[in-house]
Amino acid sequence: MNGPTIAADRDGVIAVPALVRGTLVTPPAIGKGEIEAAFAAVDREQTGGDPKTRVRLHEAWVLREPVLDRASMRATGAWQYQVMPAVTPLEVIEDDLDALAAGLYELEFAEVVRYVEGLQQAYGDDADLLQQVKAWVRATSEAPDPYVDAGLAMFPVMLAASVAETMVDTDLATWEIPGRRFLDGWVEVPGTVYPAPVHMIHAQHLPPIAGYDAADATPRLRALPTRQLHITAGNSPLVPLASLLRALWTKSAATIKLPYGATLAGAYLALLAARTFPDHPLTRHLSVLYWPGGDEQFEAPLFLPGRYDRIVVWGAPGSVLSVRERAAFTKTVTFNPRYGVSLIGREAFDDLPQAVGRAVCDTLIQSQKACIASQIHYLEADQAGAERYAAALRDELGRWDGFAPAALSRSQQGQIRRMKRGSFLGATWFENRAGGEYHSAVAVMPQEFNITEHPMCRLIVVRPVASLEDALRFLHPGVATAGVYPEPRRRELAVRIGARGVSNVPPLGQAGYTYPGMPHDGMLVLSELVDWKTS
């Protein structure tokens, strides 16, 4: 196919175009030799810590990601390089509000549906490129291959017209009116209009004004699109996709920051958009690109008041806090770092394999990196029961290690060792190890611990409790999901769990379930991304 594309040179250096307000910007050609020399220079200057992941060369950002051996999930020592254009912040900022009001904002929602359907159709049309992108993603992803494949397989599903329609019709619904109508124009709503005190005072002291009566007023609502800046996280390739779709569904002008570790899938979608709908208003007001997170020079202009109407941040506590501080005058929607837990009643021992199978599914969502993945299992059992359960968990994790081996990085290996020699010295460990390295582990922990120590990779902490009610004190708004077993206990505890700030209380094994219209972190997100206008 002609035109800009994602392509590797003969040395494997991948050139990744950026989409800048509808235009694909290709990076300069930079040879592997120059790239390696640049990284060698920064490596020499570094006294320690993790290796640098990027350098700026010419007018481009060059990222390097370690290539992993897919069988062992260990770094091979080789790097995969991506070159992306370094654009200036002013190139992505939308400042012609009248043009937006007259163009993108007046687009019919049906046109949005046609657009995403077109992307869905295009996805995979260039099968060679899609296969190549998958191969590049697989080469460096810390997620096991089955997760990479399943994640990319979700793209066409999420691009479905029915998903767009359901999301908009539910998230933006009010007065029992489907959401798309509010996106498409002013909608009269059957509200009773009350005058303000000023009108009462007026009525007491002055003659009526003709045609000026609250009883005659007609309330109207509209969900106006916005200018959105999405700063996404790299814990899943679905994160940039979710951000992109939310912007499209709400007919909004958007800048999507691709995160290190998940650039290629997002760049592929941007490429599809530019190729399939080059002159479409949704494309012309869309930017998808990489810049280093926290780069003051790039981000400060974006965070100025009036530059965006919404800033959406996914990520680590430091990133979220930093954006909140720097963009104090722009409405910010944050997806804070959260984690999942499981509450498992003693009934689990009636059918231990079933309970364990469900619990591991809740744990291994996105290979335990998703914010809804269960990290701690509160189990109604004594120590002996907890150890029996933990042994079964270890065996189940071992099976997953076989068909979906995870990459426990060296620092995650070190963190488990640190835990065993410190805060978890009193724990009883059940491990799957080979060659001195952890593949997965379960720790039965007799006392509370600091969740920030958890490496969130193939480690389950089992906390025995006398009663599931005893586990309630460990729940708080930092817990996204609490899967409960068995069902009667879930129904009994659901409101009490929710009252503690937990967003999702599914049956055990269903923490990863999702559906169009499902709230995210307690929010109907599309409703947060539009501006509700009245007239």
Binding site: T47, G48, G49, S411, G414, R417, K420, L425, E448, N450
Partner: protein, 470 residues
Amino acid sequence: MSDHHAEIRTIHLQLTTLAMRWAMSGSVNEDYARELRFAAIRANHRHYWDNIPIYRRLADQAEVPREADTAQIAAEMMSTDHIFKSYPQEYLDNHDYGAMNRWLRQVYDRPVNADVAGAASIDDWLGRLNAAAIHTVFSSGTSGHISFVPRDAYTWSQLTGLGVSYIPLFQMRQGAARSWERAASRAAARMLGPDGFGEFFRRRGLRGFDGIFLSFSGGTQGTQVVGQTLARMVGRATFLFDLDLSATVVRALVRGPADERERRLSDAFLEATVRRRADNFRRVLAALRESAAARRRTLVFGAPFMIKEFCEWLVAEGDEIALRPGSMLSHGGGWKSFEGDRIDEPAFLALVEQSLGIRPERVTEGYSMTEAQVVFPRCREGRFHVPPITETVIFDEALEPLTGDDIYGGLGFLDPYAACYPGFIITGDNVRRRSGGCPCGMSGVTISDIGRATGREVKGCGGIMAAMQG
């Protein structure tokens, strides 16, 4: 005295003599020093293995026998500082100090029999331990989860006395003393040996100084203990906070007061520290002026963020003061929770000189940990020197020991002087460690480029003081 104590005290005496020689001459016989350190580490390992339950649990987990060599101990038997806060929080929440005694026994080499009947607060408990000759230093991180490190009388004497035997000699070699003082101290060190010199320095070394301590006059938090120890050596001591740094209050400030009593204590503490800070600064300024007027030299001590705050206050008030030539400033504890307030070393030194008139070469710093007896003094090249009396280990991210003359990673140490609790500690700091001497002229190992490892809690004074920022 047990066999272990007799053996370890003999080695300690030899090590401390070595430290003094190193501080005076800049070098020692490295092989001999290593031999002594390793002997102490092996002896402590055996003692811990026999007597400290949590250490034995780790040994069983790692399948390390009683007789182990230092390499195996370094690879398998070093623990994180979490072991000193491995008690369930409900013990403190419920004021169950009997349970805290039983927990403390897990990290201590003998029964903890302190009478806790009627103890109503952490401070009460610490007081009862102290009465039972278990001197317990506490440290709080940003989570408010307090760690407790117990010491018997002998180890406590090392904590408060070991540094005196070599740090003054080190600092003098770096130029932080008059030439005649340096000569006199060297002569005294040679004649008197470790104990005698320590005693000499305690009695005479700082007697000509007035001390200004930008810290608390009481309480057993690590940095505060250093200040209190120095305060006993100077001619006249003035503390910025003339009250105890109470563990009860520290926990209440970080975690929130549990009851009305804790609320009252916290309020009173904040009133005395935060709300009356300007009053306290004025009182300290008056003491500084008095010393200057009396033509007495001054030793200023504190954590860097507190020194910076005080110096900036002096400048803002137009109250800069020129202390008598020969005055000194000593700081420790790092910036920690005040990383955002950090200023670089030249700016810090310039601020100190502008506001107090203390010359850069008379500003000293030490690096240590709550769990260690040995302090690493900083040289004029900005490196912290590891005295030849303690063993450092640098870990990679997978917690495997690294080797090399210039390496970066997580810092661990095996403190030969930790005779009664597990002193083989993996810290939360990342450092650059270099061997083979320093441009300042000292031999041996140095550390620099200190940073907190990702995800590790900020501990020590910084963690506590952050909670006091109104």
